[in-house]
């Protein structure tokens, strides 16, 4: 029997009223992504306890995330331990490329999912078991929309934009540039062959996020790689404290 209105007696006489009396409003006030955010907070604690510096690398498909990772791993080989979590809808091609470059890697296949979430990444981190004080790079699914909303527990999102894309991407996908702390303008070796205005691009990124840091580099020529490695090492140092 309904305890709020005691309606059991008149249920057959006034069916409409009965239904009405049963309807009630319940306050929820819960963030749509609260479950993900709780997992992300757990990941962040787990990483902090191990002094691990974790980054969430985001970009459109084809911006060169995996190539950048391979170059970074090779360049850091004697400097610090690096581990990688690879996110793609299908295949383990990227994780194999990373392992071939000398770093442990775990592949997450999201199937139809368009982004990594904190729950998947938590499991992957436990399986990966990075060394204390390591750098963990999480390569998200190539997509400038969804991954912006999903906190994985990382220290920073790093957005990679290649010069073969339009310089107006930050205006088209402002949320991703707002969510990121660093933008890497990638494939700068191709600048002589494309009409990509780097200054305009940086200006657009700063409209979305006035505080975003910017680095320009080419994984092919190696130009600009050293400031990126220094940025990573500063982050690793800070996470170890």
């Amino acid at each position: 029997m309904c305890t709020t209105c005691g309606c059991e007696e008149h249920v057959h006489e006034h069916e409409h009223e009965h239904e009405h009396a049963h309807a009630r409003t319940v306050r929820v006030e819960e963030d749509i992504l609260s479950k993900n955010d709780a997992y992300a907070a757990e990941n962040r604690r787990w990483l902090a306890a191990r002094g691990v510096f974790a980054l969430n690398l985001v970009s459109s498909p084809g911006a060169g995330k995996t190539t950048l990772l391979v170059k970074t791993i090779q360049a850091l080989a004697d400097r610090l331990p690096v581990a990688v979590i690879e996110g793609d809808q299908q295949t383990s091609i990227d994780a194999e490329r990373i392992r071939a470059s000398g770093a442990p890697a775990i592949q997450i296949n999201t199937g139809k999912g368009c982004h990594l979430d904190a729950h998947m990444v938590g499991h992957a981190m436990a399986d990966l078991a990075p060394a204390r004080g390591a750098l963990v790079m999480i390569e998200n699914v190539g997509n400038l929309v969804c991954p912006a909303d999903f906190d994985l527990g990382e220290a920073h999102k790093v957005v990679i934009l290649s010069v073969t894309e339009g310089e107006d991407k930050p205006l088209k996908y402002p949320n991703m540039f707002r969510a990121s702390d660093l933008m890497i303008v990638h494939k700068t070796d191709l600048l002589p062959y494309v009409s990509f205005d780097v200054d305009k691009c940086i200006g657009y990124a700063r409209r979305a996020n006035p505080g975003i840091e910017v680095l320009q580099l080419s994984s092919v020529s190696g130009e600009g790689l050293e400031p990126w490695l220094a940025w990573l090492e500063r982050g690793v140092e800070a996470a170890r404290l």
Partner: protein
């Protein structure tokens, strides 16, 4: 589609709440979506209808309250209203505006029976 993942998260919260409240049916779901959130309202409505089919919230009414966007203009040292994260400050026309509000994506309340 991005809104599909969000709609699934909404359904998760709705189902948990309905179970806790021992509700037999969800009549309405009220969301707050900020103007600067990564959500296309019409896509959200479509995805909500798809993911709730056959659930406790089947054919529930989806009510969406859109809240305005706000940012802090560093040049004006003032809070201003903006419609997108790349909008210029409506007072000085500058782009030194950091988003401060309007990114919420919340389940506010449910109507249960």
């Amino acid at each position: 589609m991005h809104e599909m993942a969000l709609a699934e998260s909404v359904l998760g919260i709705v189902e948990d709440t309905a179970r806790r409240e021992r509700a037999s049916r969800v009549r309405a779901v009220r969301l707050e979506i900020g103007r600067l959130a990564n959500v296309e309202i019409e896509a959200m409505r479509f995805c909500f209808d798809v993911v709730t089919r056959g659930s406790v919230a089947d054919s529930a009414r989806l009510e969406i309250e859109e809240t305005p966007g706000a940012g802090w203009c560093m040049r004006c040292a003032a809070t201003v209203t903006i419609d997108s994260a790349v909008d210029a400050c409506p007072r000085c026309g500058g782009y030194q505006v950091a988003v401060t509000d309007g990114t919420a994506m919340r389940v506010r309340e449910l109507e249960l029976e």
